[in-house]
């Protein structure tokens, strides 16, 4: 299947080229999201091996990652210059919202962890 492989290769190459044009601040957010999702996946696998005994700890661990990822994606939507929907929203305001939401999230996680 040389044709399909080369198609896939072409696709990835064009994707990489397009992504390289992304502004650095969005790339930082993407890295942050990838980290959070990977941590969540590791915890789910760990729960599958060890069992769900401290279930509240598991939930808070996974939800802290998922919550972080969701908030980061929201931030990314709001600070993206190409996104016309939020063109009136200053990026400083978006970041402040992001920080506030994260504080609330981690407060809840800390309470639920033990």
């Amino acid at each position: 299947m040389p044709r399909a492989t080369s198609d896939a290769k072409l696709l990835i190459q064009s994707l990489g080229k397009a992504y390289a044009a992304t502004p650095t601040n969005l790339k930082i957010i993407d890295l942050y999201v990838v980290f959070a999702v990977a941590t969540a996946l590791i915890q789910v696998v760990y729960m599958g091996i060890v069992g769900s005994f401290p279930f509240n700890s598991f939930l808070s661990g996974v939800l802290s990652c998922i919550g972080t990822a969701v908030l980061a994606v929201c931030l990314r939507i709001q600070v993206n210059k190409d996104n016309k929907e939020f063109k009136d929203l200053p990026p400083e305001r978006a970041f402040a919202d992001f920080v506030l939401c994260n504080l609330v999230l981690h407060l809840v996680i800390m309470n639920f962890l033990g």
Binding site: A36, T39, V62, H106, I109
Partner: protein, 415 residues
């Protein structure tokens, strides 16, 4: 063990002829020799009374008045039954002249005498050799119940002589036991007439002597033969028909002595004292346990030996940790000095539990102990603070927090 026995020693002996007092003197002498205070009265004595001012005058009753149609004074069938219901003991002996009154009392105790007033127990195989020429109503019985507590630990070697009427044990009454059963070849019929129809009572379904221990631990012995207790049978030798062995003395003396000891609670009466429980490693009794606590339970059980309370030894006493159903059922181990103990873990269930000992053994008085104890769940601060298997979750939470901090920094200050 303290000194007081489980029963008093005042016994009323009712006879329908004072001659019984001398013809059965050996049996009465053995009772008196063991400390019983016998009061001989004629069954139709008009001043007869079992209680006065609401107090019973006697602790036991020996009813050797088979032919009495009705008792004198204030005594009747109901007052005899009330006497037993109040936890007193009775020995009842009937014979072929048994009146309806005596039959009625026996029926109420779960024993049905043959309804034919002429019937006697006949056995053409297991009769006593001295009765070879007669009608084979003098039976040499040796089918005794296997119970050391009822018949004593010494085996009764010689057959027990019996001449009288047979009875059947009411099958719906689980409290009655056949102590002396007839042999499979026995039957109950009128020995003087020809058998017209098959006898209603045959074989080992016939009980010659039965005992009943009521749920209140009152004990009753019912014998179909008054002669069983007589001096003549106690002293005579016995040889079973067809057997070469001649015993110098019939088994009657040992039989009546041992069974009367049982009936009057000189044997087989248990008491439980000092029920204790505590957490392992502590000595005082808590008012409440927590789930998954380790606890120790102990109880002291003694048996009355007739003169003192002796440690009871058994390996089948069990304690239940009970809430609607037993959550824990443990066999108690004994130190042979009367203390039964065990230890176990409180189940992972909270609620109001009971320590229960339900000990019912053939021939022994029943023990029924229960002690209530609540079990609570963990308090909020009794849970583990950090659980080892949750460390990855803690690490993940803190790492996302740290990552948030680093991300904010990098995001704000990148060029």
């Amino acid at each position: 063990a303290d000194e007081g026995g489980p029963r008093g020693r005042r016994v009323l002996v009712l006879v329908d002829d004072l001659a019984v007092r001398s013809s059965h003197s050996a049996f009465f002498a053995s009772l008196q020799g063991r400390g019983f205070d016998l009061d001989f009265r004629l069954a139709d004595d008009p001043k007869l009374s079992l209680h006065r001012y609401g107090q019973y005058l006697y602790d036991g009753l020996v009813l050797f008045a088979p032919s009495t149609p009705r008792f004198g004074g204030s005594v009747d069938q109901n007052s005899i039954l009330e006497f037993i219901d109040a936890g007193h003991d009775m020995i009842l002996a009937a014979d072929s002249s048994a009146s309806d009154l005596i039959r009625g009392i026996a029926t109420e105790c779960g024993v049905d005498f043959d309804e034919d007033p002429e019937a006697m127990v006949i056995d053409h195989i297991n009769y006593a050799a001295t009765d070879a020429e007669g009608d084979h109503t003098l039976i040499a019985g040796d089918d005794l119940i296997q119970s050391d507590v009822i018949l004593g630990s010494k085996k009764i070697e010689a057959p027990v002589l019996f001449r009288g009427i047979g009875h059947a044990v009411n099958p719906s009454n689980s409290l009655v036991l056949k102590v002396l059963s007839a042999s499979p070849s026995a039957y109950s019929a009128n020995p003087k007439s020809k058998l017209a129809s098959p006898p209603s009572l045959t074989g080992s379904a016939i009980s010659l002597v039965s005992v009943m221990q009521a749920r209140n631990n009152a004990r009753v012995l019912i014998s179909g033969s008054l002669d069983l207790f007589s001096n003549r049978f106690l002293k005579s030798g016995v040889q079973k028909a067809g057997s070469k062995i001649r015993h110098e003395k019939a088994g009657n003396e040992q039989f009546v002595t041992e069974t009367s000891k049982w009936v009057f609670h000189e044997r087989g009466h248990l008491k439980a004292v000092n029920v204790k429980h505590n957490k392992v490693g502590e000595t005082n009794e808590p008012g409440m346990y927590r789930i998954n606590d380790d606890l120790e339970y102990s109880v002291e059980i003694y048996e009355w030996s007739g003169t003192s309370w002796k440690p009871y030894v058994a390996d089948d006493v069990q304690v239940q940790f009970y809430m609607m159903s037993p959550y824990v059922l443990k066999t108690l181990s004994t130190d042979k000095k009367g203390v039964f103990s065990t230890s176990f873990k409180v189940p992972d269930v909270y609620g109001v539990f009971q320590f229960k000992v339900e000990y019912q053994r053939l021939g022994y008085t029943g023990l029924s102990l229960s002690k209530q104890i609540p079990v609570r769940p963990y308090r909020h601060n009794e849970y583990e603070r950090f659980i080892t298997s949750a460390y990855p979750y803690y690490a993940a939470s803190f790492s996302t927090m740290g990552a948030f901090f680093i991300f904010s920094f990098v995001y704000l200050y990148h060029k």
